[in-house]
Symmetry: C2
Subunit: 172 residues, 2 copies
């Protein structure tokens, strides 16, 4: 899925991230990233984002807008720290090894040096640079190109903490 954020210089940024499931049983989307990546400084500057996820076979587009929380090594919430460790354990060997690569986005001078020489194990604590990012979604826009239907959903929280999604059918 594609994640749009805001750069500290005010310009939009956009890149592909891999959906890593919902947070527990909630509606929050998750993905993982490297603490050294630009995403992390962008989120610190402005936590708002919009995810665009297009499914070519069903010709459906989901737009999720919300606010991101970065869960790094020192996150104070035990629940989120545990979710981060579970996300780490679910990564493939190749996925975990990426977090030992040299600083992403920095100039690469030597193409002959391997990017990593070690693969941290799934059963070990997540490495320092491994971050889980949680998107608390507040609005969803679903477009179904095959049916020419489009709906907007806005999250509303009741006084008892329950979540309702208010739907409005709109012109495609």
């Amino acid at each position: 899925m594609q994640l749009a954020t805001l750069r500290p210089n005010g310009s939009p940024a956009n890149r592909t991230v891999v959906f890593r499931g919902f947070l527990d049983t909630a509606d929050d989307l998750t993905f993982v990233t490297d603490r050294r990546s630009n995403k992390i400084s962008e989120i610190a500057f402005n936590p708002l984002c919009e995810v665009c996820w297009y499914f070519p076979e069903s010709r459906e587009q989901y737009r999720f807008s919300g606010k991101m929380t970065v869960v790094g090594e020192a996150h104070p919430s035990p629940e989120l720290a545990s979710a981060r460790q579970r996300a780490w354990a679910k990564m493939s060997d190749a996925g975990r090894a990426q977090f030992t690569w040299p600083h992403p986005g920095q100039p690469r001078t030597d193409l002959d040096t391997p990017l990593s020489t070690t693969t941290p194990l799934a059963g070990e604590p997540a490495v320092e640079d491994f971050c889980l990012v949680v998107i608390n979604v507040t609005e969803v826009d679903i477009l179904q190109l095959g049916k020419n239907r489009r709906s907007e959903f806005v999250r509303e929280e009741g006084a008892d903490g329950s979540v309702l999604w208010k739907e409005t059918e709109v012109n495609p």
Copy 2:
């Protein structure tokens, strides 16, 4: 491809658009949109964007960042007005008919009323709401997941108006 822009309220927006080719022989990307869509007010507020285009088969991601120009019915440049009319003529019947649909994003009260009753012809002048958007790309970030290679390209214009793309290989 996915287009990230900035909403007037400062939050990022992200949606799928269809690439409509390069502008003439230049490096500028084009897409089309409806003058009534939110994109148009976002571009008027801030013309910066970043396009993310991921190719699942080759596992390559292209990120294009640049500045957008909207070419509507009254655009003063004869070259751009002509490019807009050519883009209109290349659209499918279904694509042209969309520009006669009711206001995109407004509440839809009646699902039984057809979205359009007319299909404007390719040979006729483009309808008023048809806009060509030109992205003048200034930076490109290419990530090749299969090869674990990543390069950044920055556009530089020589004194004679010639364009050079300065490449830097970076860590993926």
